[in-house]
Subunit: 343 residues, 2 copies
DNA sequence: CTGAAAGCGCTTACAG
DNA sequence: CTGAAAGCGCTTACAG
């Protein structure tokens, strides 16, 4: 395969103009079917490859969408965002866009440096995947380019955002525990750490309220300090029968702690998580949890960004995508017995 | 920030030509320092962004390097390749290239479909990260474009490849076990599954040979079938005192099995792994293992691909990058006692 | 149905 | 030190 064949080369061989070749290869009107076929065939034979850079330059669009992920979300076991990116890229592909991943280095985030791809005009829109610093959010807003937030939102900015339905996810899974006969249910998570921990807590709380179950302060168990570093759990004197953990990793840690203390799960305690990530299957027994609908989130974000790239005025607001409960073996049904003693 | 400022716009404002603006912004000779400054400043004020697409078209290069990862390597807990990509992208960035990740869908791999980015001439070179099918390897070879294999190599093709030093990694860690007094050492892995399992086995074997330790067939314990699906371990009648596992995940599985059988680690058995991935810290106790030098591998691969993009004749052959042992708590020192009974 | 002309935004090679 | 001309590979709008 020679690599430098252009439309002009094809045109010359057939004694036509490059305009005709262009039309033929793009399947446009104005060329006889016969000639079209001949051109396409010759293009194939000559190993012609369409040069999109030329087209890009012509119509001033790069056909690239940049997916920015803050570096801190890319650590071990954080394959969640990679999966989201993968889904995004695939959907963009169908629309003939490229999804370009950009892992935002910590320094760039602090110094408010936009990706080089922006300064070099190689991008038509941004999907911000995972919450960056406040300053960076403002920066992204200030450049006039289509922008969608994914998996977080910002109170103060009017940016289209696609998020997991944290609230109803936690609500659903707490309801499930109550259906199984649990009444003493704790929530595990630092309420002041992230908005998703907070929203999940509120979903849990709503479920309690609807079932007229009193929220006990000592049943709100912190899992990390305000910097996000995990801390030892301080379990209350009187233990609940079930724990709603704000994420699978914390459920994993909690189960280890309980098992170390000699308890069995789910016999002694039921535990549920959120995310359905790798930790959900690392626990013994495996975890009942809420699975995030990655494909739906990706699809929605791509739809938004594409429409915004077409006509930049459109706004979609904040959209929450519902997840679904994955039932495994970390929850025990409490048969009528209202409460129990720990032996 | 207006988005459509061009060199011409800047030129007109200053009553100079766009050639002069181009020279000034690229810091080339032929413009007075004074004028250069003025131009740069105005460019800033006007929110000028350099249009690399135009440059790309001019010199027929996209400045993109495509990193292809077969889909099956991107599952949960497979953040290894993401980290490699991250490192690659960062190093390419320093050289003003873009690293474009492309997750190769299974169907495309089967149907031998190259990434669209190739057909659209938006890429100057490929880094193949992770071993694809034989057919796909041949396909990649057939397109005349700079190509580097990363983390695998192919016997039959003369392609530059950067790999982990599986052989010496396993050799080193087996030596370490022997230093700790172990003589009865098993290897865990299906020798016919992948070349890295095989190479690691051979490193283990070399260590035995050098210490005049007889290789016992029943000490080669398979971990997966030929399709790569994990199977139950068949442990030999007489158990060894130490296990060299072909990867951390398998070490994790083995430790679970042994612990389920009532053994303690490292008191009853020593276990070592390879990779230092997430599984190495999920085991209790944490795993002594071989860490792959991701940055060095990435650096080498990028160096190769860049030089090949400059002048395509250069060849580097196969380069193995050494890892290093990470000492944790899964190995026990055997004080002189040659062998032991299991109580 | 076919094509000459102009232009996308930049750079290179050359002339002054 | 400065700039007019030509060209990268394509497409659009228009003329025939």
């Amino acid at each position: 395969m020679k690599s430098n064949v252009t439309m002009k080369d094809i045109a010359q061989k057939l004694n036509v103009s490059s305009v005709t070749v262009s039309k033929a290869l793009n399947d446009k009107d104005g060329v006889s079917e016969e000639l079209k076929e001949k051109i396409k065939q010759l293009a194939d034979e000559m190993g012609y490859r369409y040069n999109t850079l030329a087209k890009s330059m012509k119509d001033g669009r790069s056909y690239n969408v940049c997916v920015i992920i803050p570096e801190r979300f890319t650590g071990m076991a954080q394959s969640f965002y990679l999966k989201v990116y993968q889904s995004i890229a695939q959907i963009l592909e169908e629309k003939s866009y490229y999804g370009i991943i950009h892992i935002l280095p910590k320094e760039d985030e602090e110094q408010l440096k936009l990706p080089r791809i922006y300064h070099e005009r190689r991008v038509d829109g941004f999907i911000m995947l995972g919450q960056p610093s406040k300053g960076y959010i403002d920066l992204m807003q200030s450049v006039e380019m289509p922008l969608v937030f994914l998996d977080f939102y910002d109170e103060n900015n009017h940016v289209d955002a696609v998020i997991t339905d944290n609230f109803y996810g936690a609500y659903d899974i707490t309801n499930y525990l109550i259906q199984q006969g649990h009444r003493d249910i704790a929530y595990v998570g630092n309420l002041f750490s992230t908005s998703s921990i907070q929203d999940r807590f509120l979903g849990y709380y709503k479920s309690l309220l609807e079932h007229k179950i009193h929220l006990r302060q000592e049943y709100i168990i912190s899992d990390r300090d305000d910097e996000g570093v995990f801390i030892d759990f301080e379990l209350p004197e009187k233990l609940p029968t079930a724990f709603v953990c704000n994420c699978d990793q914390v459920a994993h840690l909690l189960m280890e702690r309980l098992q170390r203390d000699g308890y069995r799960i789910p016999e002694d305690f039921s535990v549920v998580g959120f995310d359905n990530d790798i930790y959900a299957k690392l626990t013994k027994p495996e975890l009942t949890t809420v699975e995030v609908d990655i494909d739906e989130m990706a699809k929605t974000a791509v739809k938004f960004i594409c429409e915004k790239m077409e006509k930049s005025e459109v706004m979609f607001g904040r959209v929450a995508v519902k997840g679904k409960i994955i039932y495994r073996d970390s929850v025990r049904e409490l048969n009528d017995s209202k409460s129990r003693d720990i032996s």
